[in-house]
């Protein structure tokens, strides 16, 4: 009787794991389309004094956390999907705040450089083909050949060419 119960429990557990495992599977292997992505924190280089203590060593000498890199992606993927996958592949730290109900993701920090780390107007912005979309990166569908740039700003975007009404 007890052995029977154990077997049932183990079977139930395995089923749960399988179902759960399928639910959180990694994005499928991308194929076909390519785009270019880069991550830069060059704006910090002349403001190193304002940076949070202990983070100076995280800023590369030339400001590139990721130099322009060609990556493949699936049709319909957003800038956020591409950033997340690329960071995982390149072993770059990245933290985001996800609000699935609005399909909204906010990038809090890349490479341990967080918003507000270099003054109260600092944070991460993204630019596609030289233009700041000014809406969430999880809402921007990427086209083949797009050039995505992630830029750290210390002045609400003004220092990277993306002021309030760009």
């Amino acid at each position: 009787m007890t052995a029977m119960r154990w077997k049932t429990m183990i079977a139930a557990l395995l089923t749960c794991l399988l179902v759960g495992g399928c639910g959180i599977q990694a994005p499928s292997e991308p194929a076909g389309n390519t785009c270019t992505i880069s991550i830069s924190c060059a704006t910090i280089l002349n403001k190193l004094d304002d940076l949070t203590q202990g983070k100076q060593a995280l800023v590369p000498a030339d400001g590139w956390l990721l130099e322009p890199t060609q990556v493949e992606f699936n049709e319909g993927e957003s800038v956020f999907h591409i950033l997340r996958r690329t960071c995982k592949q390149q072993m770059i730290h990245m933290e985001f705040e996800d609000t699935p109900i609005y399909n909204s993701a906010y990038i809090e920090g890349i490479g341990n450089l967080y918003e507000f780390d270099c003054g109260e107007l600092s944070g991460w912005k993204y630019r596609v083909n030289g233009r700041f979309p000014n809406y969430g990166c999880s809402q921007y569908p990427v086209q083949s050949g797009d050039v995505i740039e992630w830029l750290y700003t210390c002045d609400l975007g003004a220092d990277v060419g993306g002021g309030e009404s760009q």
């Binding site: 202990g54 730290h93 933290e95 985001f96 341990n112």
Partner: protein
Amino acid sequence: MRSRDAFSACHPVVNLVYFTLVLLFSMCWMHPACLGISLAGATACVFVLRGGTTLGKSLLRLLPIALLAAVVNPAFNHEGVTILTYLPGGNPLTLESILFGLASAGMLMAVLLWFSCTTCVMTSDKWVYLFGRVIPALSLVLSMTLRFVPKFRQQFQIVRETLPEDGGVLRRMRTLVTVFSIVVTWSLENAVETADSMKSRGYGLPGRTAFSIYRMDSRDKRMLIWLGACALCLGSGWLLGGADWRYYPAINGASVAPTTVGFWCVYLALCFTPVVLCWREERTWNLLQSKI
């Protein structure tokens, strides 16, 4: 009246200075060595001052809270350069956030245990003695506040026994709410009455002396000198970076060196002062008894 232990028998100023120092350092220093010393000292002090049973009970109550703190931090904080794996949500699980969670759990436990010692040693008569003449209103409020929870619990039990305990869950809940309401009313009235009663006895009037059984003897003076020396030593060590430790983005801080080890030894001595004091008194007592 004989106090239960040598440390509680010290002058209230000694107790106050001691707990101020220890709580300040425990709350400000995140260095793992300092946290370990503080936690060990707090555990030993609770054991000596309040007994093994109380220590066991409070540890049993504190451990789940500390564990929760340790688990919650890496779930919500993903900063740190050492990525171990990725959480189901997609954010990284970092070694630094786990270690910070453990450190904050340790600090939480140490500070709560130190407070447990404080409430045991700093009785309300000591508070009134220390601040009764400087800030009479505050010290009365302080002593009443410190006495509030045990007194409230006691009165709750008394009122509860007068009401019926039968009936379903809903009915018993209603009874409990009634009891709560009664006891809250009682405690408000009691506070006003206590204040009135103290006033009518002339509490806080200028030029009025108060009875106290505390005397600053040579042992208390020596204790004060010892605490002052410790404070000076630890304060300057603090300024020189003996307790520096950073968890984010990468773990970094004061490493093992002759100066830092000396600094930690002083901290260890400070944290174990009450234990040593009690142990010495007990040894003297046993020696004297064996000679009889």
